[in-house]
Symmetry: C2
Subunit: 397 residues, 2 copies
């Protein structure tokens, strides 16, 4: 039997995936598992997007253009203009989810053996794409005690070497919920200018910012035209995770031209989902206002309830819909599995994402979990109550 590639063996497994069989077993035993572990919002997709698909007039479901349909890219450029971001349609490649934008970006800017610096904890799949491309992720620790703010620039600088190609951030952050300030973005911009690196920003949570704080895109930073690359997606913005439509944006023409070669190999992004995504751009502002209000309420309840539990440390998120919490346990992986295997209260338990998978440095985040507040408030409250009861029982083991 021929052997699997070394790369395939090195590919990380999703930190949540390991728990899935335990959740399935619990459900088979009749347990109601409340999911705090997933980034799949329960928010309804805008009707305007769903209707566009219902009313399609397609006779031949044909390829779109490799870089995405012309009308969609033009409207996207107009959307960014409304956000104060000046880009043209030609600076945009429509991708199959933000995932593909990340993959094209990494392939365009780095070769096997090259390094990308990422503040940790970070979205676990960055590691997956980097491994698939043979790149090395170099983590810079951001601590829960500072709410996961940007680490000091010196911490980045000591890791910059001849193989460093880029700094990658997620803003607002998954899993941290941290929203980088304009000053923090400027510091990063100065750093990449000084060392001639790319700055890649995953801004898929752009519109999820709270407490009247504004998102500052790296594309708004002057003098970063040739070094800034943004990864975006409709998944979270319009609760359209299943569309698999995202985009890659850069004003660097060489970057776009090269990424387009990767895009050509896979022919085109999905046509039906582009129809939905184009229509979604006309979603009225009230939709977003209501969504933001809902998330703020959920976040506030979540934080309030979590802070009541003794020895739980919570970071206060200002964006996205995740919250990192430090628990009074030694190994959150073990605790998460125990929750599914051995805990229940009135027929219910809770599933959380152990945070170690969001760190590249071994041993970090072992007592942390990520909570996605994508559930209704009552369910969220009940989930935290379950967590509290579970922690008491778990401490007695």
């Amino acid at each position: 039997m021929p052997s699997i590639s070394t790369k395939g063996q090195l590919m990380p497994e999703s930190p949540i995936r390991k728990l899935v069989p335990f959740a399935e077993d619990a459900k088979k035993r009749g347990i109601d598992v409340i999911h705090l572990n997933i980034g799949q919002p329960d928010i309804k997709t805008p009707e305007i997007a769903l209707d566009a698909v219902r009313n399609h007039k397609i006779e031949v479901l044909a390829y779109s253009r490799t870089e995405g349909s012309e009308t969609y890219r033009s409207k996207l450029a107009a959307y960014y203009a409304k956000q104060g971001i000046k880009v043209e349609a030609q600076d945009i490649i429509v991708t199959t989810g933000g995932s593909e934008a990340l993959s094209f970006t990494m392939g365009t800017i780095a070769d096997p053996g090259d390094e990308i610096i990422i503040p940790e904890p970070f979205y676990a799949n960055y590691n997956g794409f980097a491994t698939a491309m043979g790149l090395r992720v170099v983590p810079v620790v951001s601590g829960i005690e500072r709410n996961f703010a940007l680490p000091p620039i010196e911490d980045f600088e000591i890791h910059i070497g001849p193989r460093t190609r880029a700094i990658l951030i997620c803003n607002p952050g998954n899993p941290t919920g941290y929203l980088y300030s304009k000053e923090e973005i400027e510091k990063l911009a100065n750093l990449v200018r000084k060392h001639d690196l790319f700055l890649v920003a995953d801004e898929v949570y752009r519109e999820f910012t709270y407490d009247n704080r504004e998102h500052f895109s790296i594309l708004n930073e002057d003098g970063l035209e040739n070094q800034g690359i943004v990864v975006d997606s409709v998944s979270k913005r319009y609760s359209m995770c299943g569309a698999r439509v995202g985009c890659m944006i850069s004003r660097n023409k060489e970057v776009i031209k090269t990424a387009l070669k990767f895009a050509q190999a896979r022919l085109s992004p999905p046509t039906l989902a582009q129809i939905a995504s184009e229509a979604a751009l006309d979603t009225p502002q009230e939709y977003f206002d209501a969504v933001i209000e809902e998330y703020v309420e959920r976040r506030d309840i979540l934080i309030e309830e979590l802070e009541k539990i003794p020895d739980v440390v919570v970071a206060k998120p200002q964006g996205a819909f995740y919250c990192m919490a430090e628990l009074p346990v030694e190994d959150a992986d073990h605790f998460a599995q125990w929750l599914l295997e051995h805990f229940e209260d009135k027929g219910q338990t809770v599933m959380v994402a152990p945070a170690a998978g969001f760190y590249a440095t071994p041993g970090l985040g072992k007592n942390q979990i990520r909570i996605a507040y994508v559930l209704e408030k009552d369910k969220l409250k009940r989930a935290v109550a379950l967590l509290e009861k579970a922690l008491i029982q778990y401490a007695r083991l």
Copy 2:
């Protein structure tokens, strides 16, 4: 300005793409360009698939499972059973087009620097995916004079070395239209068994076989359970190129488990398109019968007309909807561009795909073109008439 990756610089551009600006210019001059260059069929998508999308009941357009929805995978397994191919749902990963299945397969079985042997001419994007993954494509020439039949096994064997990981075939072939016989598949199976390699078969044109010839899948070959990997797609079968739904099939559990890790990084295949693809599985047999009849008529007309042109050599395709032709020109690239820039007859010209891009060996296929017979018969006839006139004019230059 930071530099582009070496890999990005090496990524091949689509052989057709270079001609696109010339086609657009011609259209701007009012010329009607008949496209013989693309694999986008004009055949209508089955109503049953389009209706499923029209009638969707989605409220939240959510991620599907990473490996594809359970119901779709089960129905796919039943479809393969009907084709005489015994696979279970667990042997299938639903992918974003056959493209992604190729990419997952290459990542799973080969590391940068490893080699994959492919009979040439071959689908140009194999080269794109291989370059993106850092793999080396080792071509084995199949000649137009033998209708692009499988090259002698010795020609493969002399290229097998310590870095060889797999043999990749496309059956029926794009761009050749050649349908491998059971005997040819068995020869390849023996070869990969002898040398402990993977045999990867792109079978996206499986149902497009003519003259009562039957497709023999590598999955039907006994004793290849651990070495066979099939790439498939709904794109051509149901004229749903824009869906971007395909799959990767293998009975080797280690292969599926590893490919799933690559799949996890990109979360899930597109949800709307899976709905269409699942419904498409119920397309009545009459649809396919009519399509096959149409393609056979088109092929016959195309071959008949092409063979009337002096010094044109045509391979007779028994499958897919492509035909390779050798023209009395030195450089088909130049001729194809000239067709768009300088030729017209009654306001019309024709766009063809120069075949050099389908060969990995420099200099091969320079006088060949690929013709996709995805147009109505009258248009096809007119296109060949244009080609004949153009060749006469071009010879006088």
